[in-house]
């Protein structure tokens, strides 16, 4: 991933919200943000899998990121979006409550996750960005979509 980059380099992070908590993913992992929420439910899938969607001819699995992170299942609102991410050339749709922004973070401001973050979310965190006024958990997409 990008941990090997030098501290002076800027990392662009796409931020979003789950239950009013801000999270982020490296923009290199993001394919696009989709407003369309039409997906087909798949039978006998795990609880966090909502179904599959057709993204311009490509079949994309849609998962409820909240459930994956150990939260309660999400409810769809007008602000709900699907974040299409790219993990090992496979597209996966992550259902999020609200989109944030793209922020540029200096590598020096990203800390490794605290040792006591031993819950599900902690296991999927690659670092914490201390932006002015708030902390953003940066998720490891490969582990999220495993």
């Amino acid at each position: 991933m990008n941990e090997t980059k030098t501290n002076s380099e800027l990392i662009e992070i796409c931020t979003f919200y789950l239950r009013n908590q801000i999270y982020g993913v490296n923009i290199q992992n993001v394919r696009e943000i989709n407003k369309n929420q039409v997906y087909t439910k798949t039978p006998r899938a795990p609880e966090f899998v909502l179904g599959v969607m057709n993204l311009r001819g490509r079949i994309v699995t849609v998962i409820d990121l909240a459930v994956k992170l150990g939260l309660s299942p999400s409810r769809t609102t007008s602000e709900t979006r699907i974040l299409i991410v790219d993990s090992h050339n496979e597209y996966v749709g992550l259902l999020i409550d609200r989109i944030g922004d793209v922020v540029s973070a200096p590598g020096a401001d990203i800390d490794p996750p605290p040792a006591n973050l031993d819950d599900v979310a902690g296991a999927m965190t690659v670092g914490v960005y201390k932006s002015p006024g708030l902390l953003i958990n940066i998720l490891d997409i490969d582990r999220v979509v495993e």
Binding site: C14, I27, Q28, V30, E32, I33, K35, I99, V102
Partner: protein, 582 residues
């Protein structure tokens, strides 16, 4: 001393007396009989002795006679002294009795001397010699000789010394005269053995008597004890029954009065009969007392009821009295009220004229009011129309504002889309790396624009919302104004109608006033009559009052009577309840 003790004492006294008498009589009888027997035995013994002595002396005299006859026949009379001596020695040799101690002796009447005696020193001695005095001082030989001279033979009793005895002992002597020689032949035996035997017998008898007395005493004592025990037992039973009866009597008499108790009947004697009768009596008494107690209860409750009734009666009378007082007071008030009314009426009569004048003035004013109120009605109608128009125009403005809001929402949506587009563009630019740098700047610009647009639109939306709120307030106020104007219009209409009515009424009023004036005069007259009637009523009420107070007094009397009755019933109860009957 109670009956039991008395009975016991009586029995003891009787038994002891009887026993003592029995012992005494028996003992004396025994003693008498014993003594008589001793006497018999003694006289029998003495008789035997006498016969023996008589035989002995007869034999001795016969021997002397035989010797004498023999001597005569042999012719030896010449030597009579020898013969005499020889015969005397023969007689002297004739000893008898125990150890041959008993002997004969011979007295010579001619010489008044002792002719022969075992004690040789006595021979030849004068019979008057002091040696032949017995302890009583009598010269018993002289006495014997005198008696022998007269009677030829006989017994003599005296006391004479006996060998082995310190004192002279009683002696019985038989004497017989041998007349040829004027000799008195005699022999005697001591009576001491008989006396001793008699004495012994007497002692035996006395011992027997005392033994018998002792036995009798013991027997009597035993019998007495048995009798006394029986007597005590009987007396105790009698005493117990009597005591129980006594306790019951005392209980009944002293107030503990337990009538449920009964005497226990153990025996079948007169006491049992008495106890039985007494039990029946107590039973009847108990029943009677029970009945009396019940009656006392009934009486008590009756008297309580009566007290209650009389209390009710009393309180009823009091209440009546109070009411009649109230009526009297009310009547007085009424009477004075009537007078006030009469006064007020005359006042009213004078006021009526003033009213008539005022009514006419009012009629003019009313017409004026009617015209003004019609004008007001017209004005309010116009105001309502204007308000309606304002309301419609405001509503139209509201609709326009809503249209603007819709447009604003569309703008916000577009800016949202634009933002998403810009974000996706940013992502694309980032993925393009260095090649996308310039594009990223453009995408950022677009994103910034979209954000500003969204902010402006939200501001517009907020303002429109404020306008819409103001419009809603204005519409509500206009509606209220319309309502108020309508109410005013209604009121004005009512006033107009009322004024019309008033105008008509005024005319009626003028007529009514004159009617009233006349009516007041009639009323005044009636009131004067009423005043008289009220005075009569007041007097009657006074009488009623007096009667009621009499009734109240009677009630108090009844109450007192009932209380006395109650007390009597109570004391009867307490009297009866002194008896225990259950």
């Amino acid at each position: 001393m109670n009956i039991k003790t008395k009975l016991i004492l009586l029995v003891i006294a009787g038994v002891v007396t009887l026993g003592a008498a029995t012992i005494r009589i028996t003992a004396s009888l025994l003693e008498k009989e014993g003594l008589a027997e001793i006497k018999n035995i003694r006289s029998l013994l003495i008789d035997q002795r006498q016969i023996m002595l008589e035989n002995l002396v007869d034999n001795a005299v016969r021997i002397i006679e035989l010797k004498y006859t023999e001597a005569q026949n042999e012719g030896r009379s010449g030597n009579e002294a020898d013969v005499k001596e020889k015969i005397a020695l023969t007689i002297d040799a004739m000893r008898y009795g125990e150890n041959k101690k008993d002997y004969f002796y011979i007295l010579c009447m001619d010489t008044q001397t002792v002719r022969m005696h075992p004690k040789k020193e006595f021979i030849g001695k004068k019979i008057t010699s002091d040696e032949f005095r017995d302890p009583d001082g009598e010269l018993f030989l002289v006495k014997q000789m005198d008696a022998a001279r007269d009677n030829k033979q006989g017994f003599d009793y005296y006391r004479w010394e006996k060998l082995g005895f310190d004192e002279p002992v009683s002696k019985m002597t038989f004497y017989k005269v041998f007349k040829e020689w004027n000799w008195v032949v005699a022999t005697g035996v001591y009576m001491d053995d008989i006396e001793a035997m008699t004495e012994r017998n007497r002692e035996n008898i006395e011992a027997g008597v005392s033994r018998m007395t002792l036995m009798l005493s013991l027997l009597t004592m035993g019998v007495c004890s048995a009798i006394i025990i029986i007597a005590v037992f009987v007396a105790q039973r009698i005493g117990k029954t009597l005591k129980e009866a006594g306790v019951m009597f005392r209980d009944i008499s002293e107030g503990e009065a337990d009538l449920t108790q009964r005497l226990e009947i153990h025996s079948k004697d007169e006491i049992a009969d008495m106890a039985h009768s007494f039990n029946i009596f107590i039973g009847k008494l108990q029943q009677m007392i029970q009945e009396i107690a019940e009656k006392a209860d009934t009486l008590n409750s009756a008297s309580e009821e009566m007290t209650e009734l009389s209390r009710h009666f009393s309180s009823g009378a009091d209440y009546m009295l109070m009411k009649s007082n109230t009526v009297a007071a009310a009547t007085e008030e009424l009477s004075s009220g009537v007078e006030s009314i009469a006064e007020a009426m005359s006042h009213a009569s004078s006021n009526i004229n003033t009213v008539v004048t005022s009514t006419e003035e009012m009629a003019v004013t009313v017409t004026d009011i009617a015209e003004q109120s019609e004008k007001a009605r017209r004005i309010t109608g116009r105001a309502v129309e204007k308000a309606m128009g304002a309301s419609e125009r405001v509503q139209e403005f509201g609709e326009a504002a809503k249209d603007i809001e819709k447009v604003t929402e569309t703008i916000i949506e577009i800016s949202d889309q634009t933002k998403l587009l810009a974000l996706n563009a940013t992502i694309e630019a980032a993925r393009a790396g260095e090649a996308g740098k310039g594009f990223a700047v453009v995408a950022n610009e677009i994103k910034e624009l979209a954000r500003n647009t969204a902010l402006a639109s939200q501001d517009i939306r907020k303002r429109i919302e404020g306008i819409l709120n103001s419009i809603r307030g204005a519409v509500a106020e206009i509606i209220q104004i319309t309502d108020v104007i309508n109410e005013i219009s209604d009121i004005v209409s009512v006033i107009a109608a009322a004024v019309d009515q008033q105008s008509v009424n005024n005319k009626d009023a003028a007529k009514s006033v004159s009617d009233i004036s006349m009516g007041i005069r009639d009323v005044n007259q009636n009131l004067n009559q009423s005043s008289t009637v009220f005075a009569e009523i007041a007097r009657d009420i006074g009488e009623v009052n007096e009667m009621i107070s009499n009734v109240s007094k009677t009630g108090a009397h009844i109450d007192a009577g009932a209380e006395t009755l109650s007390e009597t019933a109570e004391s009867l109860r307490s009297l009866v309840f002194k008896f225990k009957v259950k």
